[in-house]
């Protein structure tokens, strides 16, 4: 682990939504950290709490109906304790976000150039002209063809891929320390997806950015990240370096995800979807949330929530069965779990 403190540190984060008639336990004690210059991928099925975690990092959740507990530190500052004023100066400047649907994330009645310039003006106190100059620079950076003309385009006048490039330009406008990318390629065509991924990877390397990347696609995760955190039912169930988690997955859910993925080289292999459905977040089981679907679940799994246990270099897993194996193998790990 790095000697310096991580850029982002989330500790024991809990998020609950009060909806009419029930309480949604969206996040149930998440611990995460992001080091400087690192790409962390959050991987998990839809509904596992990935987006809520990202929004909690920027405190974007609707304050009236949401209960947030825990600690969220970004660049040494506590996000959950900021005033509204500090918060708006922090958003877009220290942390910025790329959204899943660029068509919906731009205001339809302003030009894209104006929307980028607006951000620059807001955080750097420069004129609109200077803001637009910066927007042009950014459009060149994200390789939008004929950038001068595109600055004057409205969001609906751009293609999906170009809009996502513009969204990336907007997110990078004020040189943020942390970039959050919430499924930035999910809404795009396959070929465009790859281009956007390559662009993000290139920018991350060139600018040395620290990125939290959210996806439900393991292939994408492998492509782009240094470390992976696997989420299930609002908890991180396994985390570690990419090679470790992919090459030596320990949590039955991670293993299930690997199996359910159609991998190119293994033709004819059956695609095993994980049987069962994701947990109901307004009525979580008492123990491990994955236990009802887990092929290895034992008695202990239904009784309490497993703690995170180190199983290798920076590799940790929250599973009674997996950590029991570790105990038996006397700490150091050789072969994977069947």
């Amino acid at each position: 682990m790095n000697a310096e403190a991580p850029l982002v540190e989330i500790a024991d984060l809990t998020v609950r939504f009060r909806t009419p008639g029930r309480v949604v336990h969206a996040i149930n004690g998440v611990d995460l950290h992001l080091n400087r210059g690192e790409v962390l991928t959050i991987l998990g099925e839809s509904g596992s709490g990935k987006s809520v975690t990202m929004r909690a990092l920027m405190r974007l959740l609707p304050s009236r109906r949401t209960e947030i507990r825990g600690r969220v530190q970004v660049a040494g500052r506590s996000v959950l304790e900021m005033s509204q004023r500090q918060l708006s100066a922090f958003r877009g400047k220290v942390v910025s976000m790329i959204f899943q649907e660029p068509m919906l994330a731009f205001d339809p009645v302003f030009t894209v150039g104006d929307q980028i310039a607006e951000t620059v003006c807001r955080h750097e106190g420069v004129s609109r002209k200077a803001g637009l100059d910066r927007a042009l620079e950014l459009f060149q950076l994200v390789q939008i063809p004929s950038p001068e003309r595109r600055l004057k385009a409205y969001p609906h006048e751009m293609s999906g891929g170009m809009r996502q490039r513009a969204m990336i330009a907007l997110a990078l406008a004020c040189r943020p320390q942390v970039l959050l990318a919430d499924e930035p390629t999910t809404a795009l065509d396959a070929t465009v997806q790859i281009q956007i991924l390559l662009l993000l990877r290139r920018l991350q390397k060139e600018l040395g950015m620290s990125v939290i990347f959210v996806t439900h696609d393991m292939g994408v995760a492998v492509e782009i990240s240094d470390r992976i955190a696997v989420m299930y039912g609002g908890r991180v169930v396994e985390t570690g370096p990419v090679a470790e988690v992919i090459g030596n997955p320990r949590h039955p859910y991670t293993i299930g995800l690997m199996r359910s993925r159609a991998s190119g080289g293994m033709k004819g292999q059956r695609l095993d979807a994980i049987p069962g459905a994701p947990p109901d977040l307004s009525d979580l089981p008492q123990g491990c949330a994955f236990a009802p679907r887990c092929p290895q679940a034992g008695e202990v799994c239904g009784a309490s929530v497993p703690a995170s246990v180190a199983v290798g270099q920076g590799h940790a897993v929250s599973c009674f069965q997996a950590s029991a194996l570790v105990d038996r193998a006397d700490a150091h790990v050789g072969s994977g779990v069947p």
Binding site: L60, S88, R91, F99, A105, V109, E118, T119, Y154
Partner: protein, 317 residues
């Protein structure tokens, strides 16, 4: 933009013609002979024939229509049967008063509606929202003439604060921007403003609620805009629809003030229409409706153009 403008303008020609045709036909659709109001029932046949020829009623209908349109284009809508004055003068004088009343009502109703609607939309589901929505619903459903009479009873009869009828001191029909005249404007304008206030409140409330639910609002917050700047984005998104509703409401205020003008004896087009109907003054009726309809059309055109200009998603081809 220019081509769109000229296209829209060109489109106005057939619509205007159709509107004129309907106005013209009113004379012939209404029960009885168009002559009934002019000559008494027991007049000798020669006199009737003479008047028929003088008014041109002996010509074939299409020719009559052609002549009527030709004269209307030159600003001649004939003479009022009741007063003998040119219809154009009667209508223009009344139109001015109606515009004054409608503008005053709009100046009261629109800002209030926008304020109430925005507040209710921002705080949807709150007590404030329920209160404002309640006011809006009451405003839309309460009958004009009833509210008018209640206001008169309270402010004119009991409190003796404001005049009950007329446009100005001494039954004057020429309104002027002076305190004595303004006092006469207050009650009818307030009465008339209640419906547009209610409709604006409800429309803006729904629209603000819908806009706030869009992802881009979260994205605006995520890039660090303070709440008042987010609000400006909401306003610009709401503007095209709000404008359309205001244009439509202004149109209704112009045509829909018959009851209010009658209750308050406000010498506008509403009262003019009312009089024309009861006196069977067909040229006056025709002329007033034509002018009002054309006004409505022009208003619609303006709203359309303003909308295109405000909302980039509307095609400008």
């Amino acid at each position: 933009m220019l081509t769109y403008f000229s296209k829209r303008l060109l489109f106005m020609v057939p619509i205007t013609l159709a509107v004129s045709l309907i106005c013209f036909s009113l004379v012939h659709l209404s029960p009885g002979q168009p002559m009934d109001a002019v000559v008494s029932a027991d007049a000798p046949a020669e006199v009737v024939e003479l008047v028929r020829r003088a008014y041109g009623f002996d010509r074939p209908l299409p020719v009559q229509f052609g002549l009527w349109v030709q004269r209307a284009v030159q600003g001649d809508l004939g003479l009022s049967v009741a007063t003998g004055r040119p219809v154009v003068l009667e209508v223009m004088g009344a139109l001015k008063n109606t515009l004054i009343l409608a503008t005053a009502a709009a100046l009261i109703g629109f800002p209030l509606g926008m304020l109430f609607g925005t507040l209710a939309g921002y705080f949807k589901g709150s007590l404030l929202d329920r209160l404002l929505t309640g006011i809006a619903v009451t405003g839309v459903s309460v009958p004009h003439y009833w509210l008018g009479m209640v206001l008169v009873i309270v402010f004119s009869v009991h409190l003796n604060m404001l005049p009950a009828t007329g446009a100005g001191p001494g039954a004057s029909t020429d309104w002027a921007f002076e305190a004595a005249y303004l006092r006469h404007l207050i009650l009818p304008a307030v009465t008339l403003s209640v419906i547009p206030m209610g409709i604006m409140t409800r429309t803006i409330r729904a629209m603000v609620g819908e806009i706030l639910a869009h992802d881009f609002v979260e994205a605006l917050r995520a890039k660090g805009l303070p709440e008042w700047r987010v609000f400006l984005h909401v306003v610009k998104n709401a503007a095209p629809t709000a404008l359309a509703v205001m244009g439509l409401q202004l149109g209704y205020l112009l045509g829909g003030s018959i009851l209010v003008e009658t209750v308050f004896s406000w010498p506008g087009t509403g009262m003019l229409l009312n009089n024309a109907i009861f006196r069977r003054d067909l040229p006056l009726l025709q002329g007033t409706i034509l002018v009002l309809a054309l006004f409505f059309l022009a208003l619609n055109l303006l709203v359309d153009l303003a909308q295109t200009w405000l909302d980039p998603r509307i095609k400008r081809a």
